[in-house]
């Protein structure tokens, strides 16, 4: 068994010591010499990847094509029908402003939809086994234990961390599991069908900029269309005739202005109080349970809250989409275990499945460690 692991190290693939960690060096090349696979190809969540892992969305894209279509159609009609008239009668700034807003909206929409919202990768089999061992130490392993929670103290407030059965880890604070995408997302706000993605820590600022700029755009277009109609109606033929000429734009703008302005206002409130939609809907900090709870994440200052939500350094993506799979990569913990109806056999199968993954991973780690030792310069040896 031990000799086998050393045969898998390809001497030609040995890098210089300053390169990235050893696990990235073995690539999961198939026996038939297939091209190495990237990690996004075996990603366990319900996501779709494009451009070889650079772009990702939820598998259910929802009404994202509709959102895109509405924006394009409305803006297109605006530029084609309203702009010439208004440039002639008013000013040529109008298409310029409209153009800037339109580009802004489109870019932020695409960034919201295509960015990783802050997905937490699932726990490795050894981590899951370690956590289960810690939990079983305190409880009885023969029957299914009660929902697992862990309490932590944040800013002198007790917060309960829940155990995620799919991802096999205790969720960090403000993290929630999205059932549509089957992923735990950090600072989970909501799953937005309009953008076809979850909104979480990494793309909330794109989402917020998107809805604010969209409200400006729709309000601007609505204003321009109304001005256009007013000028035309004054011109002679009356309001009703003018209305017949641009019903589509007017209808879309009228209905969307109020809803998008409302949404922007709501999210501005959330940003100012450092809340997520999820927490607001559940009423986590409103003291419904009778205790005096306040939001422990709020800095009690509107400006600081806004900055800490919108101006923090952009966190990195934790799922390494474009990394290559190492050789002998065991499958990540998947949610398949949850479909078993019998709770007593579930814990047995978890352990059995986990231990076989553990054996495979232990072999891989031994190979990693030996490779690491091979790389280390002799000068680094202690005297």
């Amino acid at each position: 068994m031990k000799s086998r692991e050393y045969q898998q190290i390809d001497p030609k693939a040995l890098p210089t010591p300053t390169q990235s960690p050893p696990s990235h060096q073995h690539q999961a090349v198939g026996d038939d010499g297939r091209t190495p696979r990237r990690k996004w190809e075996v990603f366990p969540g319900k996501n779709r990847f494009f451009c070889d892992g650079r772009i990702m969305m939820a598998r259910q894209s929802g009404v994202f094509p509709l959102t895109l279509g509405l924006i394009l159609v409305t803006s297109g009609l605006f530029f084609i029908f309203d702009c010439p008239f208004l440039v002639k009668h008013l000013t040529s700034c109008i298409p310029a402003i409209g153009g800037v807003l339109f580009v802004f909206v489109l870019i932020t929409l695409l960034q919201t939809s295509f960015t990783d919202p802050g997905i937490l990768p699932r726990a490795t089999p050894e981590e899951a086994a370690d956590i289960e061992r810690q939990i079983d130490d305190t409880g009885n392993a023969s029957y299914r234990p009660p929902p697992r929670t862990k309490e932590v103290l944040i800013n002198q407030q007790v917060i309960k961390l829940k155990y995620c059965f799919t991802c096999k880890m205790f969720r960090p604070p403000r993290t929630s599991h999205c059932s549509l995408c089957d992923n735990c997302v950090e600072r989970f706000d909501h799953h937005c069908p309009w953008v076809g993605n979850c909104v979480g820590k990494r793309n909330y600022r794109f989402f917020y900029t998107f809805i604010v700029s969209l409200s400006f755009l729709t309000a601007f277009i609505f204003g321009c269309v109304t001005t256009h109609l007013a000028l035309r109606a004054k011109g002679g033929k009356g309001l009703m005739f003018a209305l017949q000429e641009s019903p589509v734009e007017l209808a879309i703008c009228f209905f969307s202005v109020w809803s998008i302005l409302g949404l922007s206002g709501f999210h501005t409130y959330l940003v100012a109080s450092n809340l997520t939609t999820n927490e607001d809907i559940k009423g986590s900090w409103s003291g419904k349970s009778g205790e005096a709870v306040t939001n422990p994440y709020s800095h009690k200052n509107i400006f600081i809250n806004c900055c800490s939500v919108l101006c923090v350094p952009m966190p990195p993506s934790l799922i390494d989409r474009r990394g290559f799979l190492p050789a002998d990569e065991p499958a990540q913990t998947s949610g398949v275990d949850l479909e078993l109806p019998n709770p007593s056999t579930k814990s047995d199968i978890n352990v059995v499945g986990g231990s076989s993954h553990l054996v495979l991973d232990l072999q891989k780690s031994s190979a990693d460690f030996s490779l690491f030792l091979n790389q280390t310069k002799p000068a680094a040896l202690p005297a």
């Binding site: 990235s20 870019i107 917060i159 600022r205 900029t209 934790l318």
Partner: protein
């Protein structure tokens, strides 16, 4: 306890015994921070002070990466004004600090952990959930099985 003085000795005999996980410390909120509590399994493998120093240095790197200050406000506003396209072109501050962290972990492994038969895994490869420490046992130096040697070490204390 088994102290390794020669890395070459370990090359052909090292085998993984277990992995010890240092969990996240959420007492200060959602910032990235690892617990400085010393895991009992490493009692006879490494000095407490060394591990604590490593974890504290890592924590300070993460604080630097996530710091919200005057510069990050400016960067945030500028990024917003360009519809965040700058994120596609430039390396973010967090990514720069992550590179520093990976260099630091590599250095710590070479100097401190590998000689003691341990290996740190960069938390970014575990989704920032845990700091994973792989514990290796040199079968050549200790004749008995790993679990019994560890328990005998703990009773000898």
């Amino acid at each position: 306890s088994s102290k390794f003085h020669n890395l070459q000795d370990m090359q052909h005999t090292a085998s993984l015994v277990t992995k010890v996980f240092i969990q996240r410390d959420y007492s200060e909120g959602t910032v990235c921070r690892f617990q400085t509590k010393f895991p009992a399994e490493l009692d006879n493998r490494i000095e407490r002070a060394l591990l604590e120093q490593t974890v504290k240095t890592l924590n300070s790197y993460y604080v630097e990466a996530e710091k919200v200050g005057g510069q990050s406000y400016l960067e945030g506003c500028l990024a917003c004004a360009t519809a965040y396209i700058v994120f596609l072109c430039m390396e973010t501050r967090y990514e720069k600090v992550l590179k520093k962290i990976s260099g630091y972990i590599q250095e710590q492994n070479e100097k401190i952990y590998a000689p003691r038969g341990l290996l740190l895994t960069d938390p970014i490869e575990r989704g920032m959930r845990v700091l994973e420490i792989s514990v290796f046992e040199d079968r050549g130096s200790s004749g008995s099985s790993p679990s019994s040697s560890m328990s005998s070490c703990s009773t000898a204390r």
